[in-house]
């Protein structure tokens, strides 16, 4: 499904929030791109700026937000410079969003069929009856049982999982090019989580949409994403393919995140955690924001922000540890094991590749 066509490009985005306490620098120079049909996961803890980033893509920033710089190019047009009317034409049609809490994101006084049909009526001027029949199709597609009889029910008559399916139906009814899923399973039971994630994967294939998947749950990322961007304190600190992030992480923050996620190989009694709290973005640190919590921090980390160092064509990390002059450090045990596995995977892939090449050459001959 994936292609190399880039449909969304976020360049050096900087967003501040004016509050009574001062200016909160929520997004501090964030850049990423999204390719057609791919799933990009943005991972980070609460307050790292994941949600603000996606809101700016939807043009739904709070009133006290100020875009300080950067651009968000969608098909070559800057979303940040669009008029309100153009943004309204984009939302729910080209870019749609699934919200975190299905219990509160549906209008309690409107029948769900109407809520699903609404984006069709708004964007395509589809007449009500036709929109309702399309809504019914969408309800079936997202797996709402007995859809014919339930189309006129109200949200309170559905369970949490079913409501999230309804929210997904609303988001997908116009076959958007980009689907932003902002922690879509956080508020759901674990069993329901898996169902919803499977559903999203299935539907992505069916309607070939790109997904920006926001989460703080790395376990969910592994099964969903093609690429991962790790955010910390309003910046992306590392990005790469899902294998690169999971098995060859370079940034100490990514190490911390991965170590604090238990796996089947975890044998230690105590679950690892990252000490300390994220920095105050009213007054962000001069150097690497993660330095105060980073056991591997160098002196330069407190003085100068690290640039992105290239690990591979798809993998970049912003840590001074990758600088040629940096001392060699030993990552946590768990990460070393992951890196071993990565090396193995790469060898296998290389061997396979070689094998293919030989086969191809043989065929050509």
């Amino acid at each position: 499904m994936q292609s190399n066509e880039t449909i969304l490009k976020v360049n050096h985005l900087k967003i501040n929030f004016n509050t009574y306490a001062g200016t909160v620098k929520a997004i501090r120079d964030v850049s990423f791109d999204l390719k057609k049909g791919e799933t990009l996961a943005i991972v980070g803890e609460s307050g790292s700026g994941k949600t603000v980033t996606t809101r700016s893509i939807m043009g739904l920033l709070a009133n006290n937000a100020v875009v300080e710089g950067g651009s968000i190019q969608f098909h070559g047009k800057d979303v940040l410079k669009m008029s309100q009317k153009d943004l309204e034409g984009l939302r729910g049609a080209k870019i749609a969003q699934i919200f975190q809490d299905p219990m509160t994101s549906l209008d309690p006084t409107m029948r769900i069929g109407r809520q699903i049909a609404e984006p069709l009526m708004v964007h395509r001027g589809v007449k009500k009856e036709k929109a309702m029949s399309q809504a019914l199709e969408m309800m079936k597609l997202v797996g709402i049982t007995d859809a014919e009889n339930r189309i006129n029910d109200y949200p309170h008559q559905f369970s949490g999982g079913m409501r999230q399916r309804i929210v997904i139906a609303i988001a997908l009814i116009n076959y958007p090019e980009i689907l932003i899923a902002d922690e879509p399973t956080t508020a759901l039971d674990v069993t329901i989580q898996a169902q919803i994630l499977n559903l999203m994967r299935e539907l992505q294939d069916k309607i070939s949409t790109s997904i920006i998947f926001i989460t703080h749950d790395l376990g969910v990322v592994a099964g969903m994403a093609d690429r991962v961007a790790v955010m910390y304190a309003g910046k992306i600190v590392e990005y790469g393919t899902v294998d690169e992030i999971f098995y060859n992480p370079k940034h100490p923050y990514t190490w911390g995140l991965l170590s604090s996620m238990p796996t089947l190989d975890t044998h230690s009694e105590e679950l690892a955690s990252i000490p300390g709290t994220p920095p105050d973005l009213l007054d962000p640190p001069k150097g690497d924001a993660f330095a105060p919590r980073n056991p591997y921090a160098l002196k330069i980390d407190t003085e100068k922000q690290p640039p992105f160092f290239k690990v591979s064509n798809t993998h970049y990390a912003a840590t001074w540890l990758l600088h040629p002059d940096a001392p060699q450090v030993t990552p946590p045990k768990q990460i070393i094991e992951r890196q071993k596995k990565f090396a193995e995977m790469q060898r296998e892939a290389a061997a396979k590749n070689q094998h293919h090449q030989i086969e191809e050459e043989e065929e050509q001959q």
């Binding site: 739904l60 009317k85 509160t104 209008d107 309170h156």
Partner: protein, 309 residues
Amino acid sequence: MAKYLLKRIFYLLLTLFIVITVTFFLMKLLPGTPLQNQQKLSPAEQHLILKQYGLTKPIWQQYLTYVVGVFQGNFGTSFQFSDQPVSYLISSRIGPSLLLGTQAMIIGVIPGILVGALGAIKKNTWIDTTATIVSILGISIPSFVLAVLLQYFVGLKLHWFPIADWGGFAYTVLPTLALAASPFADTARFTRTEMVDVLNSDYIELARAKGLSKWGVIYHHALRNSLIPVVTIIGPLAVNIMTGSMVIENIFSIPGIGEQFVKSILTNDYPTIMAVTIVYSVMLMVVLLITDIVYGIIDPRIRLSGKSN
């Protein structure tokens, strides 16, 4: 629905019975007799008159007589107006009161909702501030003060409307305005608070994410949800208007039941006090019943006979 209505009407009658009982005994606790201003009469003559009206019997016997009478549709005769039946007295006076009350309710609540909603939508702008100041004034100025101010400025100085009496639409304008101020202010404050909450809710965020325009979001999603709690204060507002009308009708010399009520209390006109109390209670309970039904209509979560799976 029919079953629900029958149940509600049963409770309404039961409540009414309790109201009648309590009011009856409270009223008898009031000092004085209907004849307290008739010093010219000798005690023997007074006793004769009281006996004629059955007021010398024990109180429980008077109570029984009254309740039986009420259930037969007999509200007694007024002491004050030379033996007029109370039912006639009330029916000839209820018109102006109902008209004023309804007008005050309509021009209070509907603009109140609009102003409140506008304040929330334009939060923290001069529109919001103005709306807030106006509604705080509306809450804090007593209706009788407003009535007198209206009489003086709009009536006496500007000659736009008659300052008192009863005789046509023009006569209703000032008392209606005086009565409507408090429901207007309450509704505006309440709607604003609710609307601000609703506008911050997740489903409004989702409605925006659907690509609805600002006013589309407000019209299709925010308004109805903000109105649900506003409906609940309509009952208390009706009470406000009823009690307000007693004062306002006196100030504007309007021949309504509010004015009658005050007069009958001052003269210990027992049958009239009782009858007006019953009328007020019935009106209030009917308003509450309508409120509950409307509540169900606009909020599907508490709909009375909705099918659920």
